[in-house]
Point group: C2
Chain length 233, copies 2
């Protein structure tokens, strides 16, 4: 029974890594489509997104199935529940890559952002790709030093996001309103992409360090009807 | 045992309704702070957000605790898992109300958007508030006709979101770049707020109609290693 469960956890992990790999492909193509104004590539990202959604749903079904059959408790249960949350964030990262691709498609054959903002977006896109790859590695290895690198890269993306606004709000900005709108949305999508990766990294860290133990005490104190030991199944 | 479980499910439901009530308070105050440029009210929304986060975390702990002790299966398990997802969306709705309040605080004593956009944002804000209240009622009653009203209101918000862009991209728009940025972000926050409510409404519908049954067949077909009946615990 225990072996079956471990095998199923490995299957869950493999699937998370698989979804993360699809997110890498999407963000790489979206960033290239955005930077090069490549509408075919943008279409590919948009067309591929439902596959990520389906894979995330299938993983959710597997996770629920595992909980139902194996009745895991303690850390084992938290691992499976975390997989549900991680799949939701990966699915959302796929959506954000699609949003970036949609901007590229919408403005084609024009560039989404003007020359003056290209270097910042190139850097932001490269950081999002790096973050997606780090995330895949983190999910594959559970190496917590990778989680820290994701957090550091996210801080860099946050800085670039602020740089975009500094530039757009600066005196030299000549962009038309639609360019300002596009730059705002594009920057926001890139920034949220990185945020979701940090959220996942925190969940992986939390599973590894077991620091939810304190949270459970907090929960008992917050609950209007704390569960009594007699209720334990 | 069964009675204890039903009592615990009722507790989960009560807590979701409680969090939804806090989200209503936040979005109402955020919309007023945004429309009236009321910085005190904006501060209140920002200060109140951690309470929503804490309540969502506490509910997650309770849900995990229930799964561990009661080992629910089938629909019972799906109800508890859905509660985890719903709490995550409610928490995010609280964040978006906070983002709207932060725009109001940031631009104070100026209005965030110019006179010409005020009517659209008043309508959008009113729709978000209505959606939050409908969501609370849906969580309290599971009345699926409310889910449809949420979806209809979301379509209205989407239309208003498009109206904002039509206006900003129109020939009469005289807004400075920072006003364009603010209007873009504000509109996006209002729209995402409604999206999350629709996501929750879909989860409630899915629980009520049990249409995940087809999904499970799909999952078995997608799974590289379908679970054999012999594995059933």
């Amino acid at each position: 029974m225990r072996d079956v469960f471990q095998q199923e956890l490995a299957e869950v992990q493999d699937r998370l890594v698989d979804i993360a790999n699809h997110v890498i492909v999407s963000i790489e193509a979206a960033v290239r489509a955005f930077g090069d104004s490549n509408v075919q590539l943008a279409e590919q990202v948009i067309a591929a997104d439902p596959l990520i959604d389906d894979k995330a749903s299938a993983l959710d079904e597997l996770a629920i199935d595992i909980i139902a059959r194996q009745s895991p408790v303690a850390r084992d249960l938290r691992i499976v529940v975390s997989a549900l949350r991680i799949s939701a964030s990966l699915e959302r990262m796929g959506d954000l890559a699609r949003h970036i691709a949609m901007l590229a498609r919408y403005r084609f054959p024009m560039q989404v952002v003007p020359e003056s903002l290209q270097p910042t977006f190139v850097e932001m896109g490269a950081s999002d790709i790096e973050i997606a790859k780090l995330l895949r590695d983190l999910l594959a290895t559970q190496d917590l030093s990778i989680a820290e690198r994701i957090e550091a890269s996210d801080e860099h993306v946050d800085q670039l996001h602020r740089d975009v606004f500094s530039h757009v709000l600066g005196t030299e900005w000549q962009g038309a309103a639609h360019t300002t709108v596009d730059a705002t949305l594009a920057s926001r999508y890139h920034e949220r992409f990185a945020d979701h990766a940090v959220g996942i990294a925190k969940k992986v860290k939390y599973l590894a360090t077991g620091d939810w133990v304190g949270d459970e005490d907090a929960h008992a104190a917050l609950s209007p009807e704390p569960v009594q030991p007699a209720d334990l199944g």
